[in-house]
């Protein structure tokens, strides 16, 4: 296609406003798919960062850091103080101890900003007391009344023993972070915005790869049938009729039930379903091209059949096949989503849009609408845009509709 005819094509394409909008929307989705890791605030595939305390949070809520409990043994031996963590080693919260003069010991919580739920010091030596703390009626356990302050002071009227061990237990409250779940979270505490962006990525990749592979396979078979005619043609076309006669989703379900789930298997299932459309279209247009004199001229120039089909016939069939490709991307995306929704598509750890819709489906009646609605809207917009784009391309290719 020359530059002039491309400009003419672009001008005619732009006559339809809906086509321009749908092209823009499609390009935005492609952009989202390519740059999802940069756009997404979190990585929804990183399961270690998921926490159940974030699950099912509505739109706009903030991520909470759950409270922690820290236990440390504080050993005092002839004035030397050592702090030995007793339980979990990796925590944000930590405890420290220092001497504050004779018969005086300070236990402090770090970071000082942490909001504490409780603070307790156990096994105080006889005679020692803590200001602003109550002693357990029986045990030598001192619970601080107001754990807001990050420091406690242990004092004793009598002199402390030369060596003793304290156990300090600090519990922090749940803590709000600056991170906001713009579109809420799903039942695993995944950020929906990130999950949708990555879901778009999967959908676009599956759509393009599956429709592309089906196009290559189907077009090749269609051209082969058109060239061979006769029995080969009849066999291929009956296979096409067979495939078109069965419901696409049923075939996909059957294939995935046998193969198991995974992106490559979903792509394979879609290719098996969709190749027949391309084969039929490619065959019919190739047949009409093969009847034209330029093909006879090419045969008279003793060009090889492969060259005639690929260089002379195929380029003249390409416009119709590209239209079909555009429409079939949308079909492939919706098929992938349908299969994922039905639970045979992609694994739970790599959610596509269909999977997200499915996982929100069980919560939609408990007013947790955001899990299903947002991916649903995105999927709807994406498929509508692709379909409008394909329709416009088809109209431009149909000379009867050309004014």
């Amino acid at each position: 296609m020359s530059i002039a005819s491309f400009q003419d094509f672009a001008r005619r394409f732009a006559e339809s406003r809906s086509a321009v909008i749908s092209l823009t929307v499609s390009l935005v989705f492609v952009f989202c798919a390519i740059f999802a890791p940069l756009l997404a605030p979190t990585d929804p595939y990183d399961l270690t960062h998921l926490q159940l305390s974030d699950a099912l949070k509505p739109t706009g809520s903030k991520r909470m850091l759950p409270g922690e409990e820290v236990r440390v043994n504080i050993r005092v031996n002839n004035g030397a103080i050592t702090v030995l963590p007793a339980s979990p080693t990796k925590t944000r919260l930590s405890l420290a101890a220092s001497s504050c003069g004779p018969n005086c010991l300070t236990v402090s919580v770090e970071p000082t900003a942490a909001r504490l739920g409780s603070l307790q010091v156990r096994n105080l030596p006889n005679g020692a007391t803590i200001e602003g703390a109550k002693k357990h009626p029986i045990q030598p356990w001192w619970t601080i009344d107001n754990p807001e302050s990050s420091e406690v002071r242990i004092t004793s009227a009598t002199s402390l023993p030369a060596s003793f061990t304290l156990l300090a237990i600090a519990k922090s409250l749940d803590q709000e972070t600056d991170f906001v779940f713009r579109l809420g979270t799903d039942n695993f505490g995944r950020d929906m915005l990130s999950a949708i962006l990555y879901g778009i990525r999967i959908s676009v990749v599956v759509g393009l790869v599956a429709a592309g592979a089906a196009m290559v396979l189907g077009t090749a078979l269609g051209l082969f049938a058109a060239w061979q005619r006769g029995v080969t043609d009849a066999i291929i076309m009956r296979a096409v009729d067979f495939m078109l006669g069965l419901p696409a989703l049923l075939i996909g379900l059957a294939i995935l039930a046998i193969l198991g789930n995974g992106v490559s298997k979903v792509v394979l299932a879609i290719v098996i379903v969709q190749w027949s459309y391309y084969a039929r279209t490619a065959r019919s247009f190739a047949m009409s091209e093969l009847g034209k004199e330029y093909v006879e001229a090419a045969r008279c120039l003793r060009l090889s059949p492969v060259r005639i089909m690929l260089r002379h016939v195929l380029p003249n069939c390409m416009p119709q096949i590209i239209v079909l490709f555009t429409l079939n991307i949308a079909a492939a995306i919706s098929m992938e989503s349908s299969l994922s929704f039905l639970g045979v598509g992609l694994p739970l750890t790599r959610p596509s849009l269909g999977m997200l819709i499915a996982s929100g489906y069980e919560f939609i009646f408990s007013q947790k609408y955001w899990i299903s609605i947002y991916p649903g809207v995105v999927l709807l917009v994406m498929i509508v845009a692709m379909n409008l784009l394909g329709d416009r391309l088809r109209d431009l290719n149909n000379p009867r509709l050309d004014r």
Binding site: G230, K292, E293, Y294, A297, C300, R302, L303, R307, N316
Partner: protein, 334 residues
């Protein structure tokens, strides 16, 4: 006498009509019916000498184009022999580079050029692929060829739709010439063009023939063009050759009734007031041709004999053959 470049002997081509493998199967086993067969070309024999131009003339649907495609080696023959310089076509066509010696110019200048290729590619593709020209020099080569057919050098980068019908036909001729053929088949090459453009293309073909000594088979339904261009003429009716003679002889003294009626239908300047005599009756369906002589339902000289016997080509004068049972050599001028 010149060397013979091409010879066809009892060449036939039939098409099974509307058939598919499944239909063939059911027709054969279930309905016990023979599939319908169209005999587009029926036992045609002809020869072409080096440098000679043979015209083939006939009504629409008489098998001219099928014959052209069989001679060009695009269509296989159902039966009969084709020979190029004495060699059978089967082995001749297998040697791709030699098979380029037979080239064809097509009727429709719209569909005979691939709309997606530039003129440079259309003309140069085969020459490069078959190694006639190295890829690096193909542009100059194509420009030379285009100059021969009267197209400017800047046509190379243009697409077929940017040309007029006559120019496109020139591209079609250039495409055939680019592989240095010895024999050119023109299938109604000027039929789709305006009369003024027809004259240009015919002159171009005459120039090419003069310069390169091509043998040509010129297929047309236009008797005027045939008379102007051809050394010998074959007249076809419903897939068979009914008369073959030198152009001057055929036009001066046609012997077959069909040829005579065809020539009577030809407009002449002297016959301004005359009403043309159309040939009586419709051309019969080639699916179900008349028995015996195909022409008998429309022939003014028909006898019982004509219904039963298929007339063979007979020589009535040296170099003049016809297929009529009634016109005897001695009674040539009835």
């Amino acid at each position: 006498m010149n060397e013979m470049i091409f010879e066809a002997k009892d060449l036939s081509r039939s098409f099974a009509v509307g058939s598919s493998p499944l239909q063939d199967f059911t027709d054969h086993f279930l309905r016990n019916r023979q599939p319908a067969v169209l005999r587009a070309v029926d036992n045609v024999s002809m020869t072409l000498n080096e440098g000679e131009t043979l015209g083939v003339v006939g009504e629409s649907g008489c098998g001219k184009s099928t014959l052209a495609r069989m001679i060009a080696g695009i269509l296989p023959a159902s039966s009969g022999e084709r020979r190029f310089r004495g060699e059978d076509y089967d082995s001749f066509l297998r040697r791709k580079r030699d098979a380029l010696k037979v080239q064809m110019v097509f009727q429709d200048p719209m569909s005979s050029l691939n709309p997606r290729l530039r003129v440079g590619e259309i003309v140069g593709e085969a020459a490069v692929l078959h190694g006639l020209v190295p890829r690096s020099r193909v542009k100059d080569y194509v420009v030379d060829i285009l100059a021969r057919v009267g197209l400017p050098a800047d046509s190379v980068g243009r697409y077929p739709h940017q040309f007029s019908g006559g120019q496109r036909q020139r591209v079609g001729i250039a495409r055939a010439l680019a592989v240095k053929p010895d024999m050119l088949i023109c299938d109604e090459a000027v039929a789709a063009l305006d009369v003024s453009v027809q004259a240009q293309i015919i002159n171009l073909l005459l120039d090419i023939r003069r310069d390169s000594g091509l043998a040509m088979i010129f297929i047309s339904h236009d008797l005027g063009v045939i008379r102007h261009l051809c050394d010998r003429v074959a007249v076809m009716y419903l897939g068979r050759v009914v008369e073959l003679a030198k152009t001057s002889e055929l036009f001066a003294s046609p012997t077959h009734p069909y040829t005579r009626m065809l020539l009577d239908g030809m407009p002449k300047i002297s016959a301004q007031r005359r009403r043309f005599m159309p040939i009586q009756g419709e051309i019969p369906s080639p699916l179900n041709p008349p028995s015996g002589c195909h022409f008998h339902p429309r022939c003014p000289m028909v006898t019982d004999h004509c219904h039963r016997v298929r007339p063979e080509l007979r020589e009535i004068e040296p170099g003049h053959v016809h297929a009529c049972l009634n016109v005897e050599p001695h009674s040539k001028r009835l």
